[in-house]
Symmetry: C2
Subunit: 621 residues, 2 copies
């Protein structure tokens, strides 16, 4: 049923975005080049009453770009070799890591030595790095020591999106951030360092994933989104999953999580990590469960530990760990309509019940921290007891676990391990804010990372939308990263179209949240697009949009001719009447009365009325 | 380019919904039958530890149904004759209307006498009704006199959705309604009457549209949605538009607005009204503009007045009237990025500028009221100066007009004419509530009817989503009806797929709002669907969803076999592991420890752990 096709160049999307070029902004502290996308715009041509034309230049717009080198036609990429290792020298220059002779995990060794897997294996495997004995290579560790790493400077420059250089269109409404403290002027490397040291933000980047372009997750930065990908026991090939990763980042995924199950997930993951420029997260318990043939009660700390090392040495940047599913919380879920719906949560609940012992992830938490800091893997503390229906929202089980995640955060921070906290799920709108407020308080402002939340249960097939409504709100209230939901949620596994629908929907939610928070410069792209729309610069409108392909194809369904894209009208009102044309007349009128002052208003109005009629009552003839 | 195809039976969707039957609930005061949809569910089969099966019956779920007689296979429908006239006898029994000898409008007469239109004309035209001289036939007028009309009783029963009879699954979170006052127990006809008398709700139902199933729009009732349809000068036929109306109500549109432009809009409208069981709204200025060949400055009060009468006698239930676009507000839009984007607003702005006179809709407002009350057409006071971009949100022009709409509301109410108020538009999330608060205050709690609002401008092609985020919020804050936005917004005219996408998206937003407000019984369908999901009753999950077709087809993409729909697992986790199965184990465990009390907890846990292992650690084998 399942084909194990490994990736070929042809299967990977490499088209650049229309009217866009990749630009690289230099660092000031470090020798770094920060990738961004610049969208160029057409001029505005204003017909003056004299009949002459006035040309106004529209500045290009710089946007945050998660697509990595794939959209830069000047970069050669061979998926069999993987992406170039942007951060390799930064990591080595710190002098606190060593390259291992070989893979440390038993399972990794086993797979490496299995010749039947040779045809599937990523060809250019390199030996893993690990912190030298006694060293801690986490960004939090450096930050606490006052060091500004290249990663920190990179994200500072990246977050600014060259806002300081934008002269046009930067009018923005003041926001309501509910207590977030984003600097108004500029994100500095020092600010990044302070936020990481305080635990309010993380830069997920395993030393074994040097291909990443650093990014930051925190309440005082742009709201980020994650896309889940991954094959299952029954569907999709390695090739498809690598393309899904590239595809998800093309449309805006800031991180991806590989949730593969079934055979060959070790090899699938290797291909994905080597070819992905954003941080990759996993839920290691899924793979551990495969190793015990799906029998949760057979899981052991040793198997889990080996899985963590295996994945850390491949380069996974953050691990979802369900260490807050405590034995005493499990019975609290019994009266729920939908019980435990988190896969990881139910695995651990089953283990706890079977052994009548406390969750081994909880009892071995400090040992896990030791592994995390040797590779700089961040914790994503899983919400194993998140609600699976509105009815179960904000209950004792959910909030009990959240409190435990706060305790674990403190322990992780003691080890300078970076932490984000996972959140729900299914929550009606009016109960969303309680989740955010409680999380900030009980988890000491560690970044929140939520799945939606879905605001109703009655629309399977549309849960990207039911959840975007909740995601936009919780992002506004302070959530740092939103895990996307695709239209297939609850029904099946997402295909490429679903991945794109989910990512674009979540870019919308995240951006709506940035705007509501008043994030500096967030409104610039909206303003530029709206101006293009008003001026009938159709191409600019498409090119500035989150999905230029769809915008253009929808336009062309009604008015397919090329001429319609430079026409001063649109399909909604037709050529004879257009509300946007009229506004130009209003503008001319207001200019006139404005220049004559309030007293001359009445006279000016009458004059203008006459003049307007004389000219045939049209501006663009 | 445009085909003027009139409707045939084949082009109209008449399939009933799966597992659903149309039910009719009797009135207590009047001899009425209120249509609803009942979805039947499968039994839950629980395997007991003894190996026996216990059968639990799941009550059917009653849902609000806007699809009209089309989904009742027992009703015969001939689109050439139109729907049966449910309200005809109610209207005539009041003894305050008279049937006219002929159409009163000049334009209506002209069209009727034009033989070249015979092939397009609806065949069974009946003569219009009008209030007898000195009579007022508005529902507000009856309400103020203390009369409970059949329409009022109908909506009371309809709003309740038989909630009082539902015994199962009616756990619901208390909401936060921001001051709305929905009765907790039951919506009574008396409550409906009081709300209409106070102007806080309207029942739009022209005496010349007796085909409607009455519905209510008000803050203390279920949040409603409107779908815009209508052909343009360049696209679509009469047949397509009638099917779009049927299609939109099938998926949940509570009202439709016919925004047709171009030729033959009179005939198109007749076909739509005769075949639509929900209220129909229009923007009469669009047609008036056609009559002056698209030249706004040539519009006159006389042409507009004739258009109002023409449409009122066809049966239009509410008119969007842009009477708040005052001359003094027009220059306030000059500095906007997107000027005036409302089509009606810009027509009136152009007229005001050209003549340098006050808006004739404002100066003739009381005469308009006289027409409205003779047919019971409701005002939808248009927001001609709504913002067309985030940058322009909540500005002086917008809020100036809103204040004027409040003044006009008072005038309409003096005539006992029903009123709703239109609202924006494009507004970032944190500025949405100001719109609602101001509208409630300045328009004296007349129902608010908003377009979205869109919460970002950067996603053309996805504006159903950018706007659903805003719509859900403003619905929660108190908006009574949400005007849908389709994926084609800003780009082209919606096709059938777009209409469905828009309607379902807005049903989601409206329902999310009902849940957040704590509307009585709103959570019942969510609970029933979540329970079905948890119990792997796939068919029930599909049938309870807003769009059963899409839910089932998405499921089948991954697991197409019929067996998979009764399988106790899903495509996400595969057959070996399922979080939902584990919950059943947790439940059994909690039952055990629960029955033994807290003191026995420790002992019970140990026992259970042992027992669990002995049984093979599986419930469903």
């Amino acid at each position: 049923m399942r084909e194990e096709r490994i990736p070929s160049e042809k299967a990977i999307t490499r088209d650049p975005f229309p009217a866009s070029k990749k630009i690289y902004v230099d660092g000031k502290i470090h020798d770094i080049k920060v990738a961004m996308r610049e969208i160029s715009l057409h001029d505005t041509i204003v017909k003056l009453p004299s009949g002459k034309e006035k040309v106004e230049v529209n500045e290009p717009v710089t946007v945050y770009d998660t697509s990595g080198p794939y959209t830069d036609p000047n970069v050669e990429i061979d998926v069999r070799k993987g992406l170039s290792k942007l951060r390799q020298s930064w990591i080595l220059d710190r002098g606190d890591v060593e390259q291992l002779e070989s893979i440390s995990s038993n399972y990794g060794q086993e797979r490496l030595n299995d010749e039947t897997l040779d045809h599937l294996r990523f060809e250019h495997l390199s030996k893993p790095y690990k912190a030298k004995k006694g060293k801690n290579v986490s960004q939090m560790h450096y930050a606490k020591k006052g060091i500004i790493t290249p990663e920190m400077e990179y994200v500072a420059i990246r977050e600014n999106q060259r806002l300081q250089e934008a002269k046009q269109m930067n009018m923005q409404h003041p926001g309501n951030s509910f207590g977030a403290n984003t600097p108004i002027g500029e994100i500095t490397p020092e600010f990044v360092r302070d936020e990481i040291a305080a635990g309010r933000a993380i830069i997920p980047n395993n030393i074994n994933h040097p291909e990443t372009e650093p990014m930051i997750i925190g309440r005082n930065f742009l709201v980020k989104i994650n896309a889940n990908i991954g094959n299952s026991a029954t569907t999709s090939s390695i090739e498809e999953e690598v393309e899904k990763a590239v595809w998800a980042t093309r449309w805006g995924a800031d991180t991806i999580m590989d949730l593969s199950t079934g055979k060959n997930i070790h090899e699938t993951r290797e291909w994905i990590i080597r070819n992905t420029a954003v941080p990759v997260g996993t839920v290691p318990i899924y793979q551990a469960l495969e190793k015990v043939n799906g029998k949760a009660e057979d899981l052991t700390w040793e198997i889990f530990r080996d899985t963590l090392i295996e994945q850390a040495e491949q380069g996974v940047d953050y691990f979802t760990i369900h260490a807050g599913v405590l034995l005493r919380y499990v019975p609290l879920t019994a009266k729920r309509i939908t019980g435990i719906v988190s896969r990881g949560g139910s695995i651990m609940a089953k283990w706890c019940l079977a052994h009548h012992k406390e969750n081994f992830l909880y009892t071995h938490f400090e040992e896990i921290c030791e592994i995390m800091k040797a590779y700089d893997v961040a914790f994503s503390l899983g919400d194993g007891l998140r609600p699976g229906s509105l009815a179960d929202a904000n209950d004792e089980a959910q909030f009990g676990e959240l409190k435990t995640l706060g305790e674990l955060t403190k322990i992780a921070w003691k080890h300078d391990v970076q932490v984000i906290i996972e959140g729900p799920g299914h929550v009606p709108m009016h109960m969303i804010k309680e989740n955010m407020d409680k999380q900030l308080r009980e988890c000491y402002e560690a970044p929140f990372y939520t799945l939606g939340p879905l605001t109703t249960d009655i629309a399977p097939g549309y849960d990207h939308i039911t959840s975007a409504i909740g995601a936009a709100q919780i992002g506004w209230y302070g959530t740092a990263m939103l895990c996307y939901v695709t239209p297939k949620e609850h029904l099946g596994l997402p295909n490429k179209k679903d991945v794109k629908d989910g990512v674009i929907t979540y870019k919308i939610a995240a951006h709506a949240a940035d705007l509501a928070k008043g994030h500096p410069g967030a409104q610039l792209r909206d303003n530029a697009l709206s101006k293009a729309r008003f001026e009938f610069r159709w191409r600019d409108q498409f090119n500035l949009s989150l999905d230029p392909d769809t915008a253009e194809s929808f336009h062309d369904e009604t008015l397919p001719a090329e001429g319609a894209k430079i026409a001063h009208f649109c399909s909604m009102c037709g050529p004879h009447f257009c509300s946007m044309k009229i506004t130009q007349e209003v503008r001319d009128y207001a200019d006139k009365i404005g220049s004559e002052g309030d007293d001359a208003l009445q006279k000016g109005m009458e004059e203008k009325s006459q003049e307007f009629k004389e000219k045939g009552s049209e501006i663009y003839l």
